[in-house]
Amino acid sequence: MKHRVAITGIGLVTPVGLTTQATWQQLLQGQSGLGPLPEEYGLHDYPVRAVGLVKGEQELLSTVLPTKYHSRTERFSQLALLAGAQAMQQAGWSKDVPTDRYRFGSYVGVGVGGLEGIAQAAQDFAQGGPKRVNPFVIPKIITSMAAGWLSMQFNLQGPALATASACASSADALGLAFRAIRDGYADYMLAGGSEACAIPLTVAGFGNIRALSTWQGEPAAASRPFDANRSGFVLAEGAAMLVLERLEAAQARGATIIAEIVGYAATADAYHLTAMHPEGQGAIAALQLALADANISPEQVGYINAHGTATPMNDAQETMILKKVFGEHVLPARLDHAVVSSTKSMTGHMLGAAGAAEAAFCALALRDQMVPPTINLTTPDPACDLDYVPNQARQHGLDYAVSNSFGFGGSNTVLVLKRAQ
């Protein structure tokens, strides 16, 4: 028997805002969370100028994690806890709510993990030898530890694991959590993603692949999806956690249902380390399979939250892919066409956390019937000619929304969400 899957809680900790409410309000106002690279990064002679950092979260950390544990958790686990706490609170769950705890798991998508801790430990070892490696290093840096901490803090005794597919990591976490509930393997899931590796090393790493925006002006203008003057993504950090449960259970206990997840598909391009397949075959298949999984036709989709990283290649490719899947339904000339936007224009690219954050934005768009904009879209690119909701959020009647995530290694993940009735 297949269960319908509801979203009953959303937690967001992003460069745009420390809470779901703050983030969503800022997105609808077209506000960017991006800023200059901190002075102490020492990257003055490097062409990258902008980064998306979460601000002000340290004051809140003690509300979700005793001070004693702060130095033994990496930032990605801390952000996951902050987001997880918001989601659990909204869903009305606490550590003590009785239910079969083995049927409440946590899946956290993490693309990179504790890179800062690894770099520090490597330095300590090089300078002081093996006796100088802190005993908390390994438990801190491993990618599954965000799920481990959520499990400990909220007493979740179902599967606690990390999913990794680069920039699609947390889209896959949500998709697999959706399936676990739909197919009866779990009753509740706390699922999403977290990433916090925006240290100088990471900036250099992505910069040297030429994936990062080299916009030399205002950092808030550096992320320019679909714009003719785009030059890459802006590295960011953040966390997005969602509570998923069976729709009937949510209704029975009177929980607020934000939206439903109705479809999920994942494919791989089997093509190149970082570039997408030139004909987009893997992404096209993922979209078609996800729509089929949701049992809907392309014409029923009102909004597509694009992967939209603002690399010259992705945005043109993704446009071509959307046209292949949605046909005339996504062309601006059509009345009631599907609209597309990239919230990465405001949040930057949160890597492992991006997929879940963007699915959350789809859920909120369905709830509020409002689509967030693509900001910094000032010079159209002929290869990108869809309706990207430029610069201003828009009221838009929506029943279904789709979220795309494409990752290094060729992963293509698509989630389909439906308005709660």
Binding site: K68, K131, R132, P135, F136, P139
Partner: protein, 82 residues
């Protein structure tokens, strides 16, 4: 340069207070690490901090014998004043 035991004690208490997020006033020579809420990983980390702070080396077999704050002070003070 000579150190008195008080100095060693107060530094040891400071390190434990920081690592376990406890008020220094709660830590006495008689306190056992277990009472103070230190688990096995905490103790390894605390011993490493002692080594760094005092510029000494504490052998594993000596570290294993430390059960109370006072015993830690004795061991460290002994190494400092060699």
């Amino acid at each position: 340069m000579s150190f008195n035991r008080e100095d060693t004690l107060s530094k040891v208490v400071g390190i434990i207070a920081e690592k376990l997020s406890l008020p220094a006033a709660n830590i006495t020579e008689a306190s056992t690490f277990k009472e103070l809420g230190a688990d096995s990983l905490d103790i390894v980390e605390i011993i490493m901090s002692f080594e760094e702070a005092f510029g000494i080396e504490i052998k594993d077999e000596d570290a294993e014998k430390i059960k109370t704050v006072g015993q830690a002070v004795d061991l460290i003070h002994g190494a400092r004043t060699k």
